[in-house]
Amino acid sequence: MANQFGRRRFILLGGAGLAGTVILNACTKPGSSPTKTPTTAPATSASPSDAPVAANGNTVKVGILHSLSGTMAISEKSVVDAEQLAISEINAKGGVLGKQIEAIVEDGASDWDKFAEKAKKLIDQDKVATVFGCWTSASRKAVLPVFEGKKHMLWYPVQYEGQECSQNVFYTGAAPNQQIEPAVDWLLKNKGKEFFLVGSDYVFPRTANTIIKAQLKAKGGKAVGEDYLPLGNNEVTPIIAKIKKALPNGGVIFNTLNGDSNVAFFKQMQSAGLKADKYPVMSVSVAEEEVKAIGVEYLKGHYASWNYFQTVNTPANKTFVDSFKKKYGAERVVNDPMEAAYIMVYMWKMAVEKAKTFELEAVRKAANGLTFDAPEGKVTMENNHHLSKFVRIGEIGADGMFKIVSESKEAIKPIPWNQYVTETKGFACDWSDPAKGGKYKAKA
C-alpha cells in the first residue's frame, strides 16, 4: 500500500465516481424519455374488457398509482391525499352502489417502468375497478400501453401538453387551450407583446412552447428567446443574462419550469434586479404548494394560470377546503391538481352509479356528458374524455395565496389536439361515436 493512491487509480476511481453519479442522477430524474408519439385510437372499441373487475362482498377496490418516493413525491403525495379525502367522503355517505371503496395505493417511485409494472399489478392481481394516478407526462406515456392493452381505465389529474386522446384515459386536468392559451391571450392583452420562454428540458415544456410560439405568431406577439434547463438544475445565471439581453426594457416571461429549478429561477431573478413590475413571470407549474416551498418573498406580484385556486369563491370550494384542512391539518393548502384529483374520484363514482355496474365498458360510456359541481365550478366530462373547465389567472399576494385577476365566465371546452400546431390542426377526438374515435379529421 505504499503507493496508495496514484494517478491511474485516481482516473479509474474518478471515472467510476462520475459514472456512478451520472447514473444515479439519471435514475431519479423525471421526464427522461421525450417520446412524442401521439397515441392514436386502438382499433377495437366495443369488445368487452378482458380484465374482470372484482367487486365482491361489500367493497370495491380502486387503484391509486402515484410516486410516494423519489423526485416526484413532492407533488404527488398531496394528490394522493386529495384522492383519499374524496374516497373517505364517499364511503362515509354509503359508498358506490352500496359498496365501500377500498383504495390500493401503489408507489410508482418516480420511475416510469415501475409505473407500468405497478399498473399491471393493480389490474391483474388486485382486479381494481379503475385506477387514479400519474403526474408527469412520461409516467402517463409509460402506463398508456398497459391501460390500452388491457382495455382498462385510468383517471389522470394533471394539466398536460395535450396531443393525446386515449379511450382508456379520462383527463381531468387542463388541456393547453384551458390553461396555456388563455394565459398567453391575457398576457398579450395586459402585459406586452414580447415573450421570453423558459422551461425545463422535457416533453411538457417543449410541446407547450411550440404551441405558445405558434399562437404568438398568429396573434401578433413575438417570442424573443427561449431556453431550457435540465430538470433539477439550479444554475440560471446564463438564462437571466439572456433575458436581459433579449428584453432590455422589460417584457413577459412565460415559465414552464418544473420542480426545483423554479426556486433557483425566482430567487436569482430577484437578486439580479428583474422585478415583477417590469418582468412579470407567468407560470403554469407554480401553485399554492410551490409558493410555500419557494418562499412568497420571491414571488409577490408574479402570475400563474390554473383552473382552480384555493381562493376560488364557490360554496363547493369552501366545503372542499374545510374538509381537507380538517383531515390533514390547518396549515395545508390545496391546489389545482389536487382539486382535479378530487373531481375525478367523484366523476368515477357518478359514472358507476349512472351505469349501475362496475363493468368498465358501461362506466366508460356513462362518464360522457356527466356534470359535477366541482370546487372550481360546474365541470362536464366531454366526449373526448377531457373536462370542460374554468380558466383563471391569479396574482401571487403577500399571504402566499392567489388573487384572481381574470376568470372565464363559463367552462371552456377542452381541445386535446392542438389547433396551433400544423400536424394536429383540424383534428378532433370523440369517443361517443365509434366512427370518430381518438383522432379524426373534423370539418374545418
Binding site: 496508495q4 434547463l229 438564462i239 439580479a272
Partner: protein
C-alpha cells in the same frame, strides 16, 4: 462593451464559485483521502436543512436579529454536517479504506438513507432511533466488558439486535397511537422547504444596467474565506501537517506515531463540514429539498477530477474554468463573438441553451482528460502508480 465584459466575467466567476464551494469538501475527502463519497451531495443537503432550521429559530427572535441568521446558519451547518460525516466515517467508511467499489456502493446507500430520512423524520421516528441506539449500543457496551466477549459476540448480536428493534418499534407505534399527529407529523416532509435570504442579501449592487447580486458576492466571500482557511490549516497547523503526512504515506506516518485512524476521521469530518457550509451557501440561490444534493454531486465530482488529485489549486482553476465555459456557451455570448464567421456562430448558437451547454462542457472535459488524464495538476512523485 465594458459592462458586458464585466458581466461575463462576474457571471462566469460566480457560477465557478458555487461549483468551487460545493467541490471544496470533496476535494479533501476524494482528492486527499481517495474516498469516493457519493453522499457528499446529501451532506450539502443537510447543511441546507440546518439553514432552514436556524432561520425558523431566528424568526421567533426580535426582528433585527433575523437579518444575521445566515452567519449562525453557516456555523451550525458546518457542525451538523461534520458530525454526520464523523459518524459516517466511524460507522461505515473506515471499514472500507482501499476498497473503492464497496465505498461507492455504501456511500450511495447512505445518500439514499439520508434523503429518505429528511423526508420522513418526525418526533416519533427520532424517538425510535434514539431508543434503538440506546438499547443496542448501550447493551453492546455493557456486554463488551465481559471477558468472554469474543466468544459470545455473534450470539449477543443475534439477541440484542431484534430485541432493540422490536422495543423501539413498539415504543414509536405506541406513541403514535396515543398522541397522533403531534408525534407522526414529519418535520420537513417530502416538500421542498423555503429558505428566505435576509433582506440585505436579496438585492444587488447596480453597475450601469447590470446588477451584481449580493447573494453571489456573499458566496464568493465565503468561498474565499474557506479557501484561505483550509490553506492555512493544512500548511500551518499540526493537524494539517499530520493530514498531509498521512495522505502522502500512511505507513511511514503510522511508524512515526501519528494516530492515522484519528487523522482519517478528522479529515473526513472536515470535508463533510465544508459540504455543510456549501449547502448553506447554495440555499441562498436554489431550492432546499430532499433532492438538493443530487443536483450538485455530479458537478462536484467533475470539478475534482478535472482539477487533479490532492491539489487545491487544481480544484480552484477547474471550478472557475468550468463555470466560465458553461456561462459563455450557455448564454450565447460565444455565438455573438463569432458572429462574423457564420458556421462557427451557428455551431455555438446550437449549444446556446443551458442543457446543450452542459453537453458541450462534458464533451470538452472528456477531451481534456484524454490529453491530460491526471487533471490540471497531476500528482507527481514516487507514489504515483505508472
Amino acid at each position: 462593451m465594458l459592462s458586458g465584459l464585466l458581466e461575463s466575467i462576474f457571471n462566469g466567476v460566480s457560477i465557478g464559485s458555487v461549483l468551487l464551494i460545493s467541490a471544496l469538501g470533496l476535494a479533501i475527502v476524494f482528492g486527499l483521502m481517495g474516498v469516493i463519497n457519493l453522499a457528499h451531495g446529501e451532506l450539502m443537503m443537510l447543511g441546507a436543512y440546518t439553514t432552514f432550521v436556524v432561520q425558523n429559530i431566528f424568526k421567533t427572535l426580535p426582528a433585527p436579529l433575523f437579518e444575521f441568521y445566515i452567519f449562525f446558519a453557516l456555523i451550525a451547518a458546518f457542525i451538523v454536517a461534520a458530525a454526520v460525516g464523523l459518524v459516517l466515517e466511524r460507522g461505515v467508511i473506515r471499514f472500507l479504506y482501499g476498497r473503492p467499489l464497496e465505498t461507492l456502493l455504501a456511500t450511495w446507500g447512505v445518500s439514499l438513507i439520508l434523503q429518505q430520512l429528511v423526508r420522513s423524520i418526525s418526533l416519533g421516528l427520532s424517538i425510535a432511533i434514539a431508543t434503538f441506539s440506546l438499547l443496542f449500543f448501550g447493551g453492546m457496551w455493557l456486554i463488551k466488558r465481559r471477558p468472554d466477549f469474543d466468544r459470545i459476540r455473534n450470539g449477543t448480536i443475534a439477541i440484542i439486535l431484534p430485541l432493540s428493534i422490536a422495543i423501539s418499534a413498539a415504543v414509536s407505534i405506541f406513541l403514535a397511537q396515543t398522541y397522533g399527529l403531534t408525534i407522526t407529523k414529519p418535520w420537513f416532509g417530502a416538500q421542498n422547504v423555503d429558505v428566505t435570504a435576509p433582506e440585505w442579501l436579496r438585492g444587488g449592487f447596480p453597475i450601469g444596467d447590470f446588477q451584481l447580486p449580493y447573494s453571489r458576492l456573499f458566496i464568493m466571500a465565503i468561498t474565499v474565506i474557506c479557501l484561505v482557511g483550509i490553506y492555512l490549516f493544512l500548511q500551518q497547523t499540526n493537524w494539517g501537517l499530520r493530514i498531509r503526512a498521512v495522505t502522502q504515506n500512511r505507513q511511514m506516518s503510522a511508524c512515526l506515531g501519528i494516530p492515522t485512524a484519528q487523522v482519517d476521521a478528522f479529515t473526513f469530518a472536515l470535508g463533510s463540514g465544508l459540504a455543510g457550509v456549501a449547502g448553506c451557501a447554495i440555499s441562498l440561490l436554489g431550492s432546499v429539498g430532499p433532492n438538493t444534493g443530487q443536483n450538485y454531486v455530479v458537478d462536484t465530482f467533475m470539478v475534482v477530477v478535472v482539477g487533479g488529485v490532492g491539489k487545491l489549486a487544481g480544484t480552484i482553476i477547474a471550478a472557475l474554468s468550468i463555470g466560465t465555459a458553461s456561462y459563455l456557451i450557455g448564454s450565447g455570448n460565444l455565438a455573438t463573438i463569432f458572429a462574423p464567421i457564420q458556421p462557427v456562430a451557428d455551431f455555438f448558437t446550437f449549444f446556446a441553451t443551458t442543457s446543450m451547454a452542459k453537453v458541450m462542457v462534458f464533451a470538452l472535459i472528456i477531451t481534456f482528460l484524454q490529453v491530460r488524464p491526471g487533471g490540471i495538476f497531476p500528482q507527481k512523485g514516487r507514489n504515483v502508480e505508472l
